[in-house]
């Protein structure tokens, strides 16, 4: 005992408490584009939340005297065909986009993670059934599936959540399952089994924490995707309905006036582009920092 314990002597008293989170943040902060994205998204979230305070205009007010005004100091991006301030509409649209970006992603992440871990860890019939279900969902062309769901349930925001979650969970489940399969072979899982740890506990406290980095990356990358889906659905008229201000809808509506007031159609598109870019930057940055193995 004495000699082995002697090893202690040349060990430092305390090892710097470097946490996983701090390492990640360090890696992330070094990525310039990711930081730009983060700043943009924070700004957007702020603007979206405080839109009513920030904007002097009412997004739903109809002032037919002020139709399609060009950009001015009062209306920075001009007005639409109802005389509504385009910038204000875009800010309110950000609310929808941000909610649509996060809520369905969270739902599909939740379902997908649960299914993926269950499928990967339990194996056998459970795995077979879950994976065939996932295969089925994945084989549906996403936009069409979303459209079919909207067709079935009707076009509104809540149903977009359902449609996007339905489209999204299977992909998550697949990734989580393959990670679970890899983790399952890891010795620390076997160690837990050797200790008599129950299956449920292994899934929750051993596998789940190890898939979280992947989940964070998946989440960050599914946000821009969901925003795109929503805007596409709304553009096609099967998504958010007027007078709500969704960016896709604003483009669809604005393009009727493309010649008279191009900003009305172009600016919401720019908003989508910038937001999606920002989230993609963040997602790429997170992936590089958290889980380089997940590259595409």
């Amino acid at each position: 005992m004495s000699q082995s314990a002697a090893v202690t002597n040349d060990l430092p008293e305390v090892i710097e408490e470097a946490s996983f989170l701090r390492d990640t943040m360090r890696g992330f902060r070094k990525n310039r584009m990711a930081m730009v994205g983060l700043v943009f998204v924070c700004l957007l979230v702020f603007l979206a939340i405080f839109a009513p305070i920030i904007s002097p205009h009412d997004p739903y007010r109809v002032a037919l005297d002020e139709q399609l005004l060009p950009a001015s100091t009062t209306y920075w991006l001009g007005t639409d065909n109802f005389g509504r301030d385009v910038l204000t509409r875009i800010l309110y649209g950000a609310r929808i986009s941000l909610v649509v970006g996060t809520v369905p992603s969270l739902i599909s992440l939740l379902i997908g993670t649960f299914m993926g871990i269950l499928s990967g860890y339990m194996g056998g019939k459970t795995d077979f059934v879950i994976m065939r279900l996932a295969d089925t969902m994945i084989a549906f062309p996403s936009l069409l599936l979303a459209m079919v769901v909207m067709y079935t349930l009707g076009a509104n925001l809540f149903n977009i959540f359902i449609a996007l979650a339905l489209v999204g969970w299977a992909g998550v489940a697949r990734v989580v399952r393959s990670q679970t399969l890899a983790l399952k072979e890891k010795e620390f899982i076997e160690a837990a089994r050797a200790n008599g740890t129950s299956r449920v506990r292994i899934m929750f406290s051993h596998i789940f924490p190890n898939v979280t980095p992947t989940l964070i990356v998946l989440f960050s990358l599914s946000i821009p995707e969901a925003i795109m889906w929503e805007s596409s659905l709304s553009f096609l008229g099967v998504g958010v309905q007027p007078p709500e201000a969704s960016w896709g809808l604003l483009v669809a509506k604005g393009k009727e006036y493309l010649f008279q007031a191009p900003l009305v159609a172009i600016m919401p598109g720019v908003a989508i582009l910038m937001t999606v870019l920002a989230f993609n930057f963040i997602g790429d940055g997170l992936r590089d920092a958290l889980d380089p193995s997940m590259k595409d």
């Binding site: 459209m147 821009p224 805007s231 596409s232 870019l277």
Partner: protein, 312 residues
Amino acid sequence: MLMFTVRRILVSIPVLIGITAILFVMLNVVPGDPIALLMKEHASPDVIERVRAQMHLDDPLITRYFRFLFAALQGDLGTSIKLNRSVTTLIMNAFPNTLYLAGCAALVSWVIGIPAGILSAVRRDSFVDHFFMGFSLLGVSMPIFWSALLMQYIFAVQLKWLPVAGFYGFEYVILPAIVLGWSSAGVIARLTRSSLLEVMRHDYIRTARAKGAREISVISRHALKNALIPVVTIMAIQVASLLSGAVITEAIFGIPGVGRISINAIQARDMPLLQGSVLFATVLVILGNLVADILYSVLDPRIRSQMRKDAR
């Protein structure tokens, strides 16, 4: 190989059955009567009842499902309520247009995506890399309906180089193919780049260098084939998704393809047509995955011989 393909197809069967079932249930529990829609203002209740009975819409769901499944197996996807034509015929007539568009778009995405990805990986962190990756990310991040609008505005309205919309010849397909191809070029370029970078980290690349191979030969002879295996498989899947997913592009550019049919079907609530077109698109995706799997195994000798062993 044959065994593998056959087995792979057999595995798709439960998926297909699942798909038809989900689709059928989703589309058939919808509130709102397709007949009422068909007849609009002119609908009187007794006429509706008559037509419903004629179309067997008052049978139980399960009966209708099996009738649909059985007919679908024989290539009969039913009759469009709104267009009064065979759904199969409608889809098969529209498909070549979609195929043409998707083929051109895929070509665009490969011609741009693969070289851009290779150059970016080789000149990692250089200006070229940043440029191409920015370009790719832009392609991935731009909503198609918006970039299509922009392209139409710039190239058709302002510059008058290309026609705005329609489908009467090659020049009509250029803009939609670019719009559609750009977004998938982004995916291809990013994948090519990361795959090549990943391969370049492998030991056998070091081996090739240790043999004294020139860098260009290291990339072309040793890295590229390995790096393109995942790219090629993604390409196969992407063609399938282009075929099934050109909905928005077809709508904006007025291309009478399968995507357009789905949109019309949704707007018109033409249930058999929607059912048929979605099923068709789904089969395309499954086929795409199948082709991807087969390509993968053809390209990778490790899997190839594994399959040969399994088949024996």
